[in-house]
Amino acid sequence: MFDICVIGGGPAGLNAGIVARELGASVLIIDDNPVLGGQLIKQTHKFFGSKDHYCGVRGIDIAKILSQKVEELGIEVLLNATVVGYYDDDSIGVLKNEELIPIKAKCYIFATGASENMLAFENSDLPGVYGAGAVQTMMNVYGVIPGKRALVVGSGNIGLIVPYQLLQAGVEVAAIIEILPRVGGYYVHAAKIKRAGVPILLRHTIIEARGKECVESAVITEVDDQFECIKGKEKIIECDMILIAVGLSPLCELLYQAGCEIRYIPELGGNVPYYNEDLQTSRPHIFVCGDLASVEEASTAMLEGKIAGARAYEYLYGKNDRAEEIVSTAKQELKTIRMSPFEQRIVEGHRKLFGRERQA
């Protein structure tokens, strides 16, 4: 039996597995993709922050560095494998090659990430209405030209980065629209996209996608302070793709099944597992990290992974100085990152999560 089973091989899960293995635990990492790295494998932009956070390194290269470490450490990996259930005896069911394999570990770290949010508007189910991350996958991982001209809805970091990558792939970007009166993502990304000539229309939303079998155009409009559409301000945008970048929702289905307490905390992304400052859930042998715990950035996911990995090790083998050092360094770095105004939402979410007594 493995000491620790990590579900999800993205930035959070990989760091969790690496730290736990380095401390001495036996580790299995399971992922449903053909390669490790999670969403890093499509991220062509360079990260910023400090040197320890891979400043100036592209996401795709971080994925390679982490996968390499996993291999060097002899961590067991199951790829193209989906965890489909959590059972009463604390085992999980893993679907691989059309076979269901039962696996049991002493301790689990869930790093399942998040899925893209949908947005309701007329014809929002037409082919050509895509999650922004989906287009990023098609174009950056498989080298497929996603379309001719795109409209992007939402100006968070994904909504700002993907249009830039579209331009690099030779795709036109009509505009980015944002319902709020301000841009959601980092200023550097917004400045870069503006310099490239893509307009960012604030106080705008989409009301309709048009087209017979696929998207042929979009109707957008301006909104007032109450987010109500202003009559007469509608515009038709010619495009064959509408990219939805309006946030992510944590993938916590398996944790429901595992009987972990779930709370609704909008600041963290919606329904999230309850966890303490050591990322331990209401079931002590289950830890969480990354977007599943709070929808943030890859850099915070990596730090959370380290904490979860170290604490899971301690859960099994008792207090350990090296683990403690890893945790305190990671917590300090998280604190620094979360001082940024962009992270206020997360700080508020954590206040709600940690501040309240656990309900039975």
Binding site: E116, L126, Y130, G131, I145, Q168
Partner: protein, 104 residues
């Protein structure tokens, strides 16, 4: 095969070997191992199925196996998530109608 990026300032694409597959009996080409949905998209096919109740066209949405928007009939199996299913030589791919049929 013109739906593929040939020049990119940052990325280089390592593709599998070229294979033939069939979409609604029409012969198409793609690269082995890439998701079926990506190969179809590159061939200009964006409608992957028709919805159960109102028979509305649907394409992929998340492309990472999380939303079930991309279910198709592959080699007689209905409800295959084609954004994750790797392409293989000779595959028979069909648009799924509603809940799909088995043994097409």
């Amino acid at each position: 095969m013109n739906g593929y990026i040939t020049h990119h300032p940052i990325l280089e694409f390592k593709r599998g070997k070229k294979v033939k597959f069939y979409f609604e009996d029409k012969e198409l080409e793609g690269y082995e191992g890439m998701p079926i949905a990506a190969a179809l998209h590159a061939a200009g096919i964006r409608v992957l199925r028709y919805s159960e109740k109102y028979h509305r066209p649907r394409g992929f949405f998340c492309a990472v196996g999380k939303c079930s928007s991309c279910l198709m009939e592959v080699d007689g199996r209905a409800n295959v998530m084609v954004c994750m299913e790797p392409l293989k030589e000779g595959m028979q791919v069909r648009r799924q109608k509603g809940k799909g049929r088995l043994g097409v």
